[in-house]
């Protein structure tokens, strides 16, 4: 760990604590009303989802379309834990979040195994199929209420939990990418064969990226479940995965800062433009096409510093 990285870490911690203090004070003093408090919570959850998806789609370079599935696993299992475990709330919620994250991580591991043999297009289809399988099973699982939904989940998610969840996710992703493991993950994206020839254990790093991303999707699911307090399989459709993908693409594939900003903008903007809500998905699809056409690959250049992007995506 060199000096500049330590300095950067200190700055990051400072930013996190500073913005937390400001937001917390504004909420307590009533400058931000409860409606906007809810939106800030959702922003935090979306930041977790976007940053974690960016690790697989942006840094590893594999298009994953099953993020909503991981989120669903985390949401349902954590809700189950907090509903059935007789613990004090202060202890129960961390356990629920952890279980949610770990179970999504286990699922991520299972999905990662086929990815070792497949690349690109097939992988996208497998992750998509996985997301649909999860939703289909949840629809038929009477333990979780099936299509009728899973009600009465305790409202544990507060601003503090969501904010620090997002902060942990962002800092973990940043440290991962800055480490030699992160460089190995990026090397798989740039040129898998060359990476393997240089002694990078590509299988290991693919699994690492998938498991990391699934864990935080599960955490986001847990936070979401204890905020909304009612889960339905119809929330976790392919549309949800695509929505997260749009946030990743708009912020720039391979840019964590871009992910944070685009997750914030794309959560707040629809709230401001309520009357255009019919056009939301239409706008998303146009964003995807225009971003890709505007610059062949990572669109980060348009918005921000092209993070790990200097070399660009490898040509296929």
């Amino acid at each position: 760990m060199d000096q500049s990285f330590k300095k950067q870490l200190l700055i990051d911690f400072g930013t996190v604590l500073g913005s937390y203090a400001v937001l917390f004070a504004l909420q307590k003093s009533g400058v931000i009303n409860t409606y906007w408090q809810g939106i800030i919570l959702v922003v935090c959850i979306n930041v977790i989802l976007t940053v974690s998806l960016n690790v697989t789609s942006g840094f590893l370079g594999e298009l994953a379309l099953g993020h909503a599935g991981f989120m669903a696993i985390g949401a349902y299992l954590s809700a189950f834990i907090s509903k059935s475990l007789p613990l004090i709330p202060a202890l129960e919620f961390p356990v629920a979040i952890l279980i949610g994250g770990l179970s999504a991580m286990a699922a991520g591991y299972i999905v990662a195994i086929p990815t070792l043999r497949l690349r690109g297009d097939y992988l996208a289809i497998i992750t998509l199929a996985f997301g649909e399988i999860i939703r289909n099973i949840l629809k038929n699982l009477m333990l979780f209420g099936g299509t009728k939904g899973y009600p009465n989940i305790p409202a544990y998610t507060t601003f503090t939990w969501a904010f620090f969840g997002a902060a942990v996710c962002v800092l973990a992703a940043k440290s991962l990418i800055a480490s030699r493991h992160g460089r190995s993950i990026i090397s798989v994206r740039e040129d898998e064969i060359a990476a393997e020839a240089s002694g990078v254990n590509t299988n290991r790093y693919k699994i690492l990226a998938f498991v990391f991303s699934a864990f935080f999707a599960g955490v986001a699911g847990a936070l979401y479940a204890h905020y909304i307090r009612f889960l339905q399989p119809s929330v976790f459709t392919l549309d949800k995965s695509i929505e997260i993908l749009v946030m990743v693409v708009l912020g720039g594939m391979g840019s964590i800062r871009g992910s944070i900003i685009s997750a914030t903008v794309l959560t707040v903007l629809p709230e401001l433009l309520r009357s255009f809500s019919d056009y939301r998905m239409l706008m998303y699809s146009i964003v995807l096409i225009v971003m890709m056409l505007a610059k062949h690959s990572a669109s980060g250049k348009i918005m921000f510093r092209p993070a790990a992007d200097k070399t660009q995506e490898a040509e296929t």
């Binding site: 594999e62 199929a129 099973i137 993908l245 693409v249 056009y279 995807l288 096409i289 056409l293």
Partner: protein, 294 residues
């Protein structure tokens, strides 16, 4: 009804849905073979075809005109889509192409939702032939017409690709686009032609599908599209007989699972079969194993 004739019924169901999957899978496989691109929007072209033919029918046009207009407009649409969205990205990375394709798919679904609303629209089935009776089994006209049309189109397509100059050009481009260009083949035109044929097949599939499963809505194409892609993958993507085989195979699995295991868990089971297939035999049933070259 005896167990055997029920089995026959399910078999026919499987052939019916399988022939629709096969038609869609042909489009996927042709486009993939030539442009190395999973055209996610292919499923939505089925929907476009169904809606265009519905508009024509509602406008009082005879069914054959409705079909022709629908097929032609889908072909044109496929070519335009390729020119505007995929051609500029021909040298970009795979992931960019995939994201663009997903974008187009969502664009189509949502644009149609805004124009026609998300409410299902009834589709007047215009196949008015008598049902076929074989022993205790009755086959409705929709079913055997779908099957016959699909098989005929597949045979025609295979002959076209095998024997005509344009078909040869298509095979050459999918083998090696650079070398094909050096041999004087117009690669751009060949790719456009592929998109046109694939989209036309999707339009036919859309019309047949709507005839069998009446109310249509703007997202009707996405699930059959994904499943047809699975079928193409099962058969070995890029291979035309593979797509047909995969389509029928998948249709048969679906019909049997629906009848004998569980209709609610149908999609889970079908998708699990897909994942297992891809993991165990990534090249598909008829696919070639391609060595990775540096």
């Amino acid at each position: 009804m005896s167990g055997f004739s029920q089995f026959i019924m399910q078999f026919i169901n499987g052939l019916n849905i399988g022939s629709i999957y096969a038609l869609i899978a042909l489009g996927y496989t042709m486009v993939y073979g030539i442009a190395k691109l999973i055209n996610f929007a292919h499923g939505d072209i089925i929907m476009v075809g169904a809606y265009v033919s519905l508009i024509c029918l509602n406008a009082g046009l005879p069914w054959y005109l409705a079909c022709i207009i629908s097929i032609l407009s889908c072909s044109a649409f496929g070519v335009i889509m390729e020119k505007f969205a995929y051609k500029p990205l021909r040298n970009a990375s795979r992931i960019s192409l995939l994201i663009t394709a997903i974008g187009i798919s969502y664009l189509l679904e949502n644009a149609f939702q805004l124009i026609f609303t998300a409410n299902p629209k009834p589709y007047p089935s215009f196949i008015a032939l008598p049902a076929l009776k074989i022993g205790a089994v009755t086959i409705s006209a929709n079913y055997y017409i779908t099957f016959i049309i699909s098989v005929v189109l597949m045979v025609v397509l295979t002959l076209f690709i095998r024997n005509t100059n344009m078909g040869k050009a298509m095979r050459a481009v999918s083998e090696d686009a650079g070398a094909a260009r050096l041999m004087g083949i117009n690669v751009d035109n060949t790719i456009s032609l592929t998109f046109a044929i694939g989209s036309a097949l999707a339009a036919v599939a859309g019309i047949l599908y709507s005839n069998c499963y009446s109310p249509i809505n703007p997202t009707m194409g996405s699930l059959p599209g994904i499943k047809a892609f699975i079928a193409a993958g099962l058969g070995g993507i890029g291979s035309i007989p593979g797509a047909v085989l995969g389509g029928f195979f998948l249709g048969m699995i679906e019909a049997m699972v629906k009848a004998y295991i569980s209709s609610q868990l149908l999609d889970s089971i079908v998708f699990t079969v897909l994942i297992l297939m891809l993991v165990l035999k990534p090249a598909g049933i008829l696919g070639k194993d391609v060595r990775e070259k540096v």
